[in-house]
């Protein structure tokens, strides 16, 4: 049953809607369990309708909430728990905090970290490998990212079934912010390495032939100016920055720099 629930969690957002966000997806994950717990159809109808309210969390962290809600529903079905509102309370009280952890770690730290590593690999592989091995960096990006992602999702489901509400304590003790800081520092080192190799490979030789245009500033200097410029333009929309980059290149081309 746990494996079945695990597979269904991938469909959490399949019917994502603006009114109640992930409500049907959550019910879809829960449904086989509720069907077992409540064989009586009328009783089950009440329970199913109870779970149709607003729900939204990080999809990677939903397994923690699912396990806690299943444990609670089991207790209600076995008359160990009499507060029928408790599953809803668990959902509404835990969804926000665990989503914040998931967003900041997986999407704010882990994904950029693996992306930076892949970008460094791409820059190195363009210089070092033949075209036959260029697929390695994107494939490694997916494999490395998902080893951690899938392992966490499965582990969090299994351990949450065992620990129930104590899981929240465990998560808070994991010091995800501290782990995130370490990854961000390593990520910064990777980015700086990528910049170094990029400048080394493409920055020290003129991109266009100097004799054709009379003179040429060292591209490394130009790259440095661009990078500082784009750093300060960081707040603007990426699409706008992209077009500004094209205009900037156009001006440089026009000025024959």
């Amino acid at each position: 049953m746990k494996n079945f629930v695990f597979l269904r969690t991938f469909f959490l957002q399949a019917l994502w809607n603006f009114e109640r966000l992930q409500n049907i997806g959550f019910l879809y994950i829960l449904y086989p369990v509720l069907k077992n717990l409540y064989p009586d159809k009328e009783k089950r109808k009440e329970v199913l309708l109870r779970h149709l309210g607003f729900f939204n969390t990080n999809p990677y962290m939903v397994n923690i909430i699912i396990a806690m809600v299943i444990n609670c529903e089991k207790n209600i079905a076995e008359n160990k728990e009499h507060n029928l509102k408790k599953p809803e309370m668990i959902k509404s009280l835990t969804a926000g905090p665990v989503a914040a952890l998931g967003d900041s770690f997986f999407w704010g730290t882990w994904r950029p970290f693996v992306s930076f590593a892949a970008i460094l690999m791409i820059i190195l592989s363009l210089n070092m490998f033949t075209l036959d091995y260029l697929w390695v960096a994107p494939v490694l990006f997916i494999v490395v990212y998902n080893i951690v992602h899938l392992a966490f999702r499965y582990w969090s489901l299994i351990i949450s079934f065992k620990l129930d509400e104590k899981m929240i304590k465990l998560i808070s003790k994991l010091e995800i912010k501290y782990i995130g800081d370490i990854f961000r520092i390593i990520g910064l080192i990777i980015v700086l390495s990528a910049i170094y190799f990029y400048f080394k490979i493409f920055g020290m030789v003129p991109v266009l032939e100097p004799e054709k245009y009379g003179f040429n500033y060292p591209e490394a200097v130009m790259f440095g100016i661009i990078m500082i410029l784009s750093f300060f333009l960081g707040r603007i929309k990426p699409a706008l920055m992209f077009y500004l980059a094209i205009i900037f290149s156009f001006i440089l081309g026009y000025l024959r720099i």
């Binding site: 019917l15 109808k45 999407w107 892949a118 266009l208 591209e219 750093f231 990426p238």
Partner: protein
């Protein structure tokens, strides 16, 4: 035509990864760019464009109710156009990305409309449950996925076909100065990307060193 249909379906599957199913990150530009490049025999262009988009749009992820611009559509169509029409041309690759950005915003609007439609399916499921039709839970999920795949693959089909023809025509008319600019932009855009990535680290202080020292000494 078979290739166009295949690309539309592959694109829809990749886009589904953003919110609809899994979130395995196969939708990220750094993966989908090289994938289409590999299929079309020019992985180098795919990697380069994927790398540029990945860096410049590093913070574009669906959080809460926000619907970000679809980077998968942007990267995939740019790679498909440039590799199909002007394989190996760096200028054409940069131009394809510039041309693909408006289409990604157009797709976002379609996606928003699709999510509005999902609300109707959700109410249909709710009504069904009230009258004891439990099968509607699975059907609702299936319909959500089905309509997503339908509208996304149709959008890919139209963007690749109509946008591609427009792109090819426009590229043949660009002036020489812009041609030089696009050539330069091929090397400058990753540097702009590095700047955008470094901007992400602006809030990074080094408290972790302090924490580590405190942990080691305690």
């Amino acid at each position: 035509m078979e290739q166009l249909i295949a690309f539309s379906l592959i694109g829809a599957v990749l886009s589904a990864d953003i919110t609809m199913f899994g979130q395995f990150m196969i939708s990220r530009p750094i993966f989908c760019g090289p994938l289409f490049g590999y299929i079309l025999g020019d992985i180098h262009t795919g990697l380069w464009l994927g790398m540029i988009v990945e860096m410049m749009w590093i913070n574009e992820i669906p959080m809460g109710v926000s619907v970000p611009v679809d980077l998968t559509v942007m990267t995939s169509t740019a790679v498909i156009w440039s590799c199909h029409f002007f394989r190996g041309s760096q200028e054409a690759a940069v131009f394809s990305l510039a041309a693909a950005i408006p289409f990604a915003y157009l797709y976002k609007e379609v996606d928003l409309a699709g999510r509005m439609f999902n609300t109707k399916i959700m109410h249909w499921v709710e009504k069904g449950l009230e009258s004891g039709k439990e099968r509607r839970i699975s059907l609702g999920i299936f319909l959500g996925l089905f309509f997503f795949m339908l509208r996304t693959s149709l959008m890919y089909f139209l963007i690749i076909l109509a946008g591609g023809l427009l792109y090819r025509q426009l590229f043949s008319y660009i002036p020489i100065q812009l041609f030089v600019a696009l050539k330069k932009a091929w090397y400058y855009l990753p540097v702009f990307g590095f700047g955008a990535v470094l901007y992400n680290f602006r809030s990074l202080k080094i408290p972790f060193i302090k924490t580590t020292v405190e942990k080691l000494t305690s």
